[in-house]
């Protein structure tokens, strides 16, 4: 991949930001599992949380490759904090592709001002089976009334704006889902249990409760029944950035291994060949995953139909980072088990889970292949 001077400039700035604001605090917030509120203040001036938002709404309007570079740097520093950024982008994504100018203006304003977005799809009974959403939105005059519970919502406790998927017609299943903008502080909308996690511990993961929460009818994004379509468009956009985050974590793992090895093996004692080979394989996997992620990111800017490539980038990235970080812990032995490398392995695990598990990615890819094959057969006949 050959980058433009602007992209490289932004990558450098992101790297400096991460070195100054992310890396030094990462271990402490990983230990405590607290949300690093300071980060929003530090990021406010750079508007990095608004990097995908068009300039006419006050954002930075970075192209997808530039976003990829920033995501990689943040997760290189800390995947928990990288997830905070990534999840805000996930919350922003739907309004980039759907919604009226008024909705966009209202939704993007707090993010441009240094706030965050959150995306609420998952429920206790609706994980991979996103269509099983039970949260309801009932039209009443000029409002919708929301009732139900969302879970595992990243940034849920700290976001200013939320994109919530709820059913406007339970009898229609998937086709009864609709998407709503919900603002922080809406009466009847509260934040529940905070989850403590294996990794990305500094990211905020919570339950959201809706108890007769009234939202204006003008907050319906798209039409009633388009919720699932909007969710799928959003996930197509959000999966390659997960792959970029995975690349960031894995690159950090290799750097940490190299740092340890060069300190430990000096003079006449180079690291054994087996160790060199394993490092080489790890690095090769990282490079390949980055290329796939950037390919999918570029498709985001150039086509509307890239679900398959999006899923592939996340599948490859997620599995790669799990394998690379596991190898790093094992290879670096007791040092790996007690240093920043162990955090990387814990952080890596979520990359196979969120934004659709890697099993769901395989479903997307497999179904895509079979559909294409069926079309070819029809043409041949």
């Amino acid at each position: 991949m050959i980058f433009t001077p602007e992209q490289l400039e932004i990558q450098k700035a992101a790297r400096e930001f991460v070195a100054k604001h992310v890396i030094p605090q990462a271990a402490e917030y990983d230990r405590s599992g607290e949300f690093p509120s300071y980060l929003l203040g530090a990021a406010k001036e750079s508007k990095v949380f608004a990097m995908a938002i068009p300039k006419k709404y006050g954002g930075l309007e970075y192209d997808s490759i530039t976003q990829a570079l920033v995501c990689e740097e943040w997760s290189y520093g800390c995947a928990g904090m990288g997830t905070t950024l990534g999840a805000s982008m996930l919350g922003t994504d739907p309004l980039l592709v759907v919604g009226t100018p008024e909705q966009r203006k209202m939704y993007f304003a707090p993010i441009v001002d240094g706030g965050m977005a959150a995306f609420g799809l998952t429920e206790p009974g609706a994980g991979s089976d996103a269509g099983a959403v039970k949260t309801t939105a009932v039209r009443s005059g000029n409002e919708y009334i929301l009732n139900g519970t969302k879970c595992f919502i990243t940034n849920g406790g700290y976001a200013s704006v939320y994109l919530i998927v709820a059913s406007t017609d339970l009898s229609k299943g998937l086709k009864g889902l609709s998407a709503f903008i919900v603002e922080k502080g809406t009466p009847g909308f509260t934040v529940g249990t905070v989850e403590h996690k294996l990794g990305i511990r500094s990211s905020n993961t919570v339950e959201l409760h809706f108890k007769d929460a009234h939202v204006p009818a003008s907050n319906l994004v798209g039409a009633e029944g388009e919720g699932m379509k909007i969710a799928m468009l959003t996930l197509d956009m959000a999966r390659p950035p997960v792959a970029c985050a995975a690349v960031g974590i894995a690159r950090r793992a290799i750097d940490e291994c190299l740092k340890h090895l060069t300190e430990r093996f000096t003079g006449n004692y180079p690291p054994p060949q087996t160790v060199q080979f394993k490092l080489a394989e790890m690095h090769a996997q990282v490079e390949a995953a980055r290329q796939m992620a950037h390919h999918a990111m570029r498709l985001r800017d150039t086509t509307t139909s890239y679900s398959m490539e999006s899923a592939i980038s996340k599948l490859i990235g997620g599995d790669m980072v799990m394998s690379v970080t596991t190898q790093a812990v094992s290879l670096m032995g007791s040092y790996g088990y007690t240093s920043v490398i162990e955090k990387l392995m814990r952080d890596a695990k979520i990359m196979q889970i969120y934004e659709g598990t890697n099993q769901v990615q395989r479903l997307v890819i497999g179904r895509g292949l079979l559909t294409q094959a069926a079309k070819h057969m029809q043409k041949a006949v």
């Binding site: 989850e195 812990v329 290879l331 695990k349």
Partner: protein, 374 residues
């Protein structure tokens, strides 16, 4: 060829399972959170003879053999990897003392170790590229009365809780081949246990660097064997117990994931019914089963008095590649629930990684295996 445990082995395995349920399961979650050393279980472990399984009757042990020892470590690990880790490091120390120690040292240490009154630690790793090399290496200097030890050991398990350390040291600086080993009482002046090091998992088992600051030991503290032999044989045994930990933790995870999959409904049915989920569980169970067979084979070789170092290296190498994958995939079956800390799998994920470490060694298991083929 007989793949069946003897009646006695089955009884001991059963008793280890019951012990784990009664004593370990109630405290494992809290131990993981507080990182507290589980002192209260050491005496009960000894009362059940679990600290002397591999030792001779003369040493106060029960001569139950390696296979039995491995079944116990596996059973304990299903409930608590930390306690199995404490036991393994304790056992490596007592094994080395029994095999290479002087009569006086054996008499002094072993009965107390079997009774759980004194805990052992096997301190062999150093900060340099390989033990015996570099400015931090432990060097033993001969004196009229014995030796003086100076240097530091890295990442010592049971550090701070152990009453006796088995310590390797070179008698000539930067010459690993001059390594010998000593039994060092933890109370000896100059033995300084560093700050406890936070580990990813196995958090009940303390780890620290230990500094030997001109520690004076008597001649009798010297073990009667070359350092490399003591380390290689003891580690080969330790690797089997480590593999038993991996297998035990991995099986616990697979069982939990399968049970979860049966009650978690998505798309109108338990996710267990999906072929892709069955494939994840099945692949994990295959790896776990193959590892267990290789492990018990190696343990039987020990009991038969046959060489077992290569088989031990093969089990270690196999699990270094596949051990953590058992947890990566079990967590995957549980999706988001496999990632939240109030469920057991995240703890098992962190624990199992500690049982498959390679320690960037100059002497890899691959080398031992390849040498055996050539």
């Amino acid at each position: 060829m007989n793949f069946k445990l003897t009646e006695e082995q089955q009884l001991i395995q059963q008793s280890a399972r019951e012990f784990a349920k009664e004593y370990l399961e109630p405290l494992v979650a809290k131990m993981d959170e507080t990182r507290e050393f589980p002192r209260e279980v050491i005496k009960p472990l000894a009362d059940h003879d679990f600290l002397g399984l591999h030792l001779s009757a003369e040493s106060g042990g029960v001569e139950a053999g390696c296979v039995t020892y491995i079944t116990v470590i596996e059973a304990i690990s299903r409930s608590c990897g930390s306690v199995a880790s404490i036991m393994n490091n304790h056992a490596m120390a007592s094994y080395a003392i029994q095999r290479w120690g002087s009569e006086a040292v054996k008499k002094q240490c072993l009965p107390a170790m079997v009774k759980g009154e004194v805990l052992g630690a096997f301190a062999i790793y150093e900060h340099g590229p390989t033990p015996g090399i570099g400015p931090m290496a432990v060097v033993a200097t001969k004196t009229d009365a014995g030796y003086v030890l100076k240097g530091a050991k890295a990442y010592v398990r049971n550090a701070g809780k152990a009453g006796v350390y088995v310590v390797t040291a070179v008698t000539e600086a930067d010459r690993p081949k001059t390594a010998v080993a000593f039994v060092v009482d933890a109370q000896t002046a100059g033995v300084k246990v560093g700050e406890r090091i936070a580990t990813m998992g196995l958090r009940g088992c303390p780890v620290a660097h230990v500094v030997f600051d001109n520690v004076v030991v008597p001649q009798g503290a010297l073990l009667g064997g070359r350092g490399t032999e003591i380390v290689n044989r003891t580690l080969a045994l330790g690797a089997l117990a480590e593999a038993a930990q991996t297998v035990g933790i991995g099986q616990a995870a697979i069982d939990h994931a399968a049970a979860y999959a049966k009650q978690r409904v998505q798309f109108g049915m338990p996710v267990f019914n999906f072929p892709a989920v069955q494939a994840l569980l099945s692949d994990s169970n295959i790896d776990c089963h193959v590892a267990r067979l290789a492990l018990y084979h190696a343990a039987q070789l020990v009991d038969d008095g046959e060489p077992f170092e290569v088989e031990s290296a093969m089990v270690k190498s196999f699990l270094a590649r596949l051990g953590s994958k058992l947890l990566v995939d079990s967590c995957q079956v549980e999706g988001g629930m496999g990632f939240v800390e109030n469920m057991p799998l995240p703890r098992l994920f962190r624990d199992i990684a500690g049982t498959t470490l390679l320690d960037a060694p100059a002497d890899t298991p691959e080398r031992a295996i390849a040498m055996s083929i050539a």
